[in-house]
């Protein structure tokens, strides 16, 4: 499954959480209602805490669960199954959380989470929208999971077809590398090295149109022409670590 496809189900959620309702309706299909999710979450509260000062109970605390490797909270005693799946690469992205909430034992057969599952799709989306609010970091950094929203803007074939000039991209990139590390380091600020060009172009246009929310990036992208965005995409895609 491609990275992009994997993110698709997260698209609507992050949009609902971070875009104005009007934009979200225009650009994506709204899925989750966090307020309703808070009510549904009462079913989970006997075992799971979330929010400020949340501690592990029968189940682990759920702050920052989005993007977390399964079985990864230090000091919590997980089932062998969750530790195994974590080591196999299971990361709690939207898609996997959704599947797990639907039927925990279907995803991790020997989990100790004795919950029959939320069968109503909308309820799952609502509760995930609620939980998403407690995985704030790195909110507004759409390149990183789980806020990746690569398809939030439809670009014309003409824009996507522009072949960028990497030499120009190299010069323009010097503005990016004041914050984004060329070698792909991503402490606090995401890496933009070796992105697929289409993802890069889409993201930059989404900032330019102020659909993605980050004010620095809106400003930086806001004055780039279509050709300049293509040039940057070409340069960063080809950049070696």
């Amino acid at each position: 499954m491609s990275g992009v496809a994997k993110y698709l189900s997260a698209v609507a959620l992050s949009a609902a959480a971070f875009l104005s309702p009007a934009l979200a309706a225009e650009e994506t299909e709204a899925l989750g209602d966090a307020d309703n999710g808070a009510v549904i979450f009462r079913k989970c509260q006997s075992c799971h805490a979330v929010g400020p000062d949340a501690k592990n109970k029968v189940g682990p605390q759920l702050n920052e669960v989005f993007g977390r490797k399964a079985g990864a909270i230090e000091g919590f005693r997980y089932s062998d199954g969750l530790i195994r799946e974590g080591n196999n690469g299971l990361v709690w992205d939207y898609e996997h959380l959704d599947a797990y909430l639907n039927n925990p034992k279907a995803l991790v057969s020997d989990t100790r989470m004795n919950f029959r599952g939320l069968k109503d799709e909308q309820e799952r989306h609502d509760v995930l929208a609620y939980l998403r609010q407690f995985s704030a970091s790195p909110r507004d950094i759409p390149e990183a999971q789980p806020t990746a929203i690569p398809k939030e803007i439809e670009l014309s074939d003409e824009i996507l077809a522009i072949v960028g000039d990497p030499e120009y991209g190299e010069y323009l990139s010097s503005e990016c590398t004041t914050c984004h590390q060329r070698d792909g380091g991503d402490e606090g600020i995401p890496s933009i090295t070796q992105w697929a060009t289409e993802d890069f172009v889409t993201a930059m246009h989404a900032y330019k149109e102020k659909i993605r929310p980050h004010p620095v990036m809106q400003m930086m992208a806001g004055r780039l022409t279509d050709e300049e965005i293509a040039a940057l995409a070409a340069y960063f895609a080809a950049l070696e670590d």
Partner: protein, 418 residues
């Protein structure tokens, strides 16, 4: 690579006697950079990297270990250790920059040479000056550089910052910290006010009855609404600011008595942090490329308006709308590096673009930011677009802003030093 001084001088002399047309019959074009901070280190690195050996780049910087002024307030607040702000020049040297640890003490613009304190001189085809700031003598009556061990400025990071922190830690219970804030324009517009926040953060934990007084000659200051909101929220009752309407512009100090006179009213200080009015680093005056306190430049190339063979970066230059910040200096360095390469090797030159963002920390996980983009016009570097954090933002966004600033620190220092 480090140069043995004897060989280095010999090289310098040899080059000087070769005379210097723009493109030499033999030998590479030569760029000398004075000052290894956000402007100079970035320019040296980008020219060496992008010219791929076609340009000989020498960086003259007296310190072997550079401490960034940006984030040094976080050291005062206990959020960073001094060691984490230190950077050496080893990586630049391995990327082809000749790093010479010495003071530049004079510039002969006709001969195109830079004299070094250790003796000898080095010749250039293009000179880049990025010396940062110096203080205007007599700006705060009673204070001189000789007073800095009693009343530190801590506006060049390193031992001054360590001294200030030690003084804050030694304050008596309920003591008074006074800051004499600088007039515009100065390095890092939000810097004094972030510092106040960080000092308050430290005192709140260790000496909660202590007082902080800012004596300020300015009517208003950078991110004022955001800082004042934060001070009310985190440090209520601790911070008092005396603006020009109450004599904040009529201040003198007595370092022996540790007193501050504000328009006739004498305040006894336990710590007095004097940040005097600023001017371009002295080497600019020595080169006679200043007009008033700063060195005017063209925004298209960062070339001095007085000598086209000299580019001036960062705090020292007068360029227009950009604030004096490490981010700005780094941004300007890239434009200068491109222009210098274009002039010396004929490489492609693109239109200048600039940007700046300044993050400030008010308290744990309470970060704010202000930023803008800029373009070059014939008159100046002109602002295009900008943004600022809003008052009343939620805690998660403020935390994310702080985390972003930490990422920026890692990014810009990698961009400067390689």
């Amino acid at each position: 690579m480090t140069l043995n001084r004897r060989t280095f001088i010999a090289t310098g002399v040899a080059t000087a006697t070769m005379a210097a047309p723009m493109v030499r019959a033999s030998g590479k074009p030569r760029v000398v950079v004075v000052g290894g901070g956000a402007g100079g280190a970035t320019a040296a690195r980008y020219i060496a990297k992008d010219s791929k050996g076609e340009i000989d780049v020498t960086l003259i910087e007296p310190s072997r270990q550079y401490y960034t002024c940006f984030f040094s307030n976080l050291y005062l607040g206990g959020f960073r250790e001094m060691q984490s702000l230190g950077h050496s020049y080893g990586a630049l040297a391995s990327q082809g920059v000749n790093v010479v640890h010495d003071w530049a003490v004079g510039i002969d613009r006709d001969a195109k040479t830079v004299a070094l304190a250790g003796g000898g001189s080095v010749s250039y085809d293009r000179l880049i000056l990025s010396p940062g700031i110096d203080f205007i003598e007599g700006a705060v009556p009673g204070w001189s550089v000789a007073s800095q061990n009693k009343m530190p400025h801590a506006y060049k990071a390193g031992s001054q910052t360590e001294l200030l922190r030690a003084q804050i830690e030694a304050m008596p219970e309920g003591g008074t910290y006074v800051m004499v804030a600088p007039p515009n324009p100065y390095r890092c517009p939000p810097g004094p006010y972030e510092r106040i926040s960080m000092v308050a953060h430290t005192l709140k934990a260790t000496n909660p009855t202590a007082k902080i007084i800012i004596v300020d000659p300015k009517d208003k200051f950078s991110k004022q609404a955001l800082f004042e909101e934060g001070w009310g929220k985190h440090y209520s009752g601790m911070i008092e600011r005396i603006g020009p309407d109450f004599g904040g512009d009529k201040v003198s100090v007595n370092a022996d008595e540790m007193t501050v006179d504000v328009d006739g009213e004498v305040i006894k200080a336990d710590v007095c942090n004097v940040i005097p009015a600023m001017k371009a680093g002295r080497i600019c005056e020595m080169a006679s490329i200043t007009d008033g306190n700063w060195a005017p430049v063209s925004g298209h190339t960062m070339q001095s308006r007085i000598d086209e063979n000299i580019h001036v970066l960062g705090d020292a230059c007068a360029q227009g709308d950009m604030p004096k910040s490490g981010f700005s200096a780094n941004s300007q360095a890239k434009v200068a590096a491109m222009a210098v390469r274009g002039a010396l090797t004929g490489s492609k030159v693109f239109p200048a673009k600039f940007s700046n963002t300044c993050w400030s920390l008010i308290d744990s996980d309470d970060g704010i930011k202000v930023g803008a983009t800029y373009e070059a016009t014939d008159e100046k570097i002109a602002k295009v677009d900008g943004f600022i954090s809003a008052t009343g933002e939620d805690a998660a966004l403020r935390k994310a802003t702080y985390e972003e600033s930490v990422g920026w620190y890692a990014g810009i220092t990698a961009d400067m030093f390689g």
